[in-house]
Subunit: 416 residues, 2 copies
Amino acid sequence: MQVHDLLTDAVEASRTLQAVSGETTATILENVAQTLLENTPLILEANAKDLAAMSPDDPKFDRLKLTPERIAGIAADMRSVASLPYPVGNVLSNELRPNGMSVRKVSVPFGVIGIIYEARPNVTCDVFALCLRSGNACVLKGGSDAYYSNMALVTIIRWILAKYWVNPAVCTLLPADRASATALLNASGLVDLIIPRGSSELISFVRSNSKIPVIETGAGICHTYFDKGADRDKGRAIIHNAKTRRVSVCNALDCLLVHRERLEDLPYICADLAESQVVIYADNAAYEALEGHYPSSLLQHALPESYGTEFLDYKMSLRTVADINEAIAHISRYGSRHSECIISESLDMIRLFEQAIDAACVYANVSTAFTDGAQFGMGSEIGISTQKLHARGPMSLNELVTYKYIIEGSGQVRPS
Amino acid sequence: MQVHDLLTDAVEASRTLQAVSGETTATILENVAQTLLENTPLILEANAKDLAAMSPDDPKFDRLKLTPERIAGIAADMRSVASLPYPVGNVLSNELRPNGMSVRKVSVPFGVIGIIYEARPNVTCDVFALCLRSGNACVLKGGSDAYYSNMALVTIIRWILAKYWVNPAVCTLLPADRASATALLNASGLVDLIIPRGSSELISFVRSNSKIPVIETGAGICHTYFDKGADRDKGRAIIHNAKTRRVSVCNALDCLLVHRERLEDLPYICADLAESQVVIYADNAAYEALEGHYPSSLLQHALPESYGTEFLDYKMSLRTVADINEAIAHISRYGSRHSECIISESLDMIRLFEQAIDAACVYANVSTAFTDGAQFGMGSEIGISTQKLHARGPMSLNELVTYKYIIEGSGQVRPS
């Protein structure tokens, strides 16, 4: 079947989804979750075929690998999405105009959402759950590495959809080749929104080639500023957590900015980082402050490229600033507008930082590791937007709907 | 000065705008409006230079032409924007998480908004007013036809900005050449949003060439469906108003769909259209129903291309449908998701239509001519979005802001 035909079917299916109640979408997700659990052996068998084609040394191997525990996690996440409030049909505003017509703004699904991602089978289920629960059809273009795993998961999903008389094309898996991706990115008029999930190369490819609106997710170059009036214990804990909780995630700390009057606190603040074997690329002043207190094997001089780098590793840059304005200027220049933090006990400095920093998430005395849909109380997330159009930061059900205006009257016409 | 430098200045200026109060933006707009009025002769002189270079037969001539009345209209619109609520700093949600951190979602300006438009000097002032009132800097790429007019208007604007100690680069006029447009569309990281205003060629050029998120405005292929249970007087008035109030606008009626059991009402419904010299392209059944009742010089047989066409003229297509489902299917296939209307006294049919039609504005017994920011109570509009991402339908101040999350705590870290 041609990709164009698959997309046309998905559009058709998305329209029939309008007539499916929020309650039914929840029931379907509960049922899919249960069926995934019951078919764990079948899913693992398909996954084993994919794994057999990949070297265990490949960094993608662990992401691709499914286990009974991971399948249980996928099912639990799906149930959690089922329990979230249904975001469709909310009246966002309702105004009676002077001429007697009412103008009602109501949340509605996008229609068809395309996702392009790499070898992570859990994304298949996460995306399907969030899209169905927000009334959208999803078109999935997964990585060829996960072909058999995705086929098994989508087969189970579509089986349950059919059982509830929902057109299975609301969950459409495209062939895992480059041609599908190209066809998807060009499907203007059929697909309403594209969300890429994966490496920065993938996201850049999508941004450059899509004729459809894209929500960019991903890259986070995150800073924490240790202010003149900072509490050093809070700082030590936050900085260590933001850097080392999981180094491979987008909200991890990349650059610590320290007020020059607090340089003498650096050995104390960085003690936990040393224990976690974090390499620090420090400017001269910070290097001098740490020298003799931080393992010399882990302490290096910062190079120009140490700033504005997303390390995704046990590495961090460190720069001394004269004041909060210099910290703000540094972040404006090098940040990716993802998650930025100030550590300070001064309410004035906190307010200034919160106002001046242009980022999806601005933290005061909290670790940037919290930039996550579940941590924000959204239940689950489809990604973290790093753009400003439509949605910013963690995106969940409310970010997967748009709206329409419904205007009702009794024959009103507009005077010239 | 290079375009890149102008854009960098605009970014810098947009940051300083954070410290300008909503009250000050209103005062500035009031003052600009007054100064425009006082300098009417100077503006008309500049406009005359532009007009001298254009043939009065050019359809753009009338749009380009300024008069004392039009300048008064521009000033009045600017005052009306000044009086709208300031959309920045609204707390959209505020949640205290179980770990004691608060997550506050706050509306913030985009930063720098780029507008690409054609020979309409009033757009220069409208866009500046809406952008300033929403805390954004605007970068204007106007048509070369309006060069002197735009220069005069922007000079006045910047003069008043400077008077209030606001960096004049918050209103930046780019050179009116193609190279500027290209530089603007590639200014990823400097410009946050692009809104094209003008012909479908212009919009298509922007969509294909922008590396920056775009909000599409424009094309409206609008339908009105006259249902089996429609009131013929309401229908006659609404159809005539939607078609003829202003044929050159995007919300004008392009195609009338009529239930086959109401064909005999067509002569009555279309009587006013005949008076307004509207050419009708009718399918066979409708043609037969109108023949002898509608001027034969204005009645033609529909061709396949009669459907899905935005006429922008005293022309309209007309198709007979078997039922509401056929009407919905026709609109889904041919509409541009702008404004669609049902005329019916049946609440069931109205509800079905409202739910099934995927469009920015869905009308029941009201003319589509109301798709307009001012008519919806938004005060003014920067355009009518025909996409689903971020904003749909008329866009005003609330659609020119994004948001950020501000997370405050007392040292919270995230457990692994």
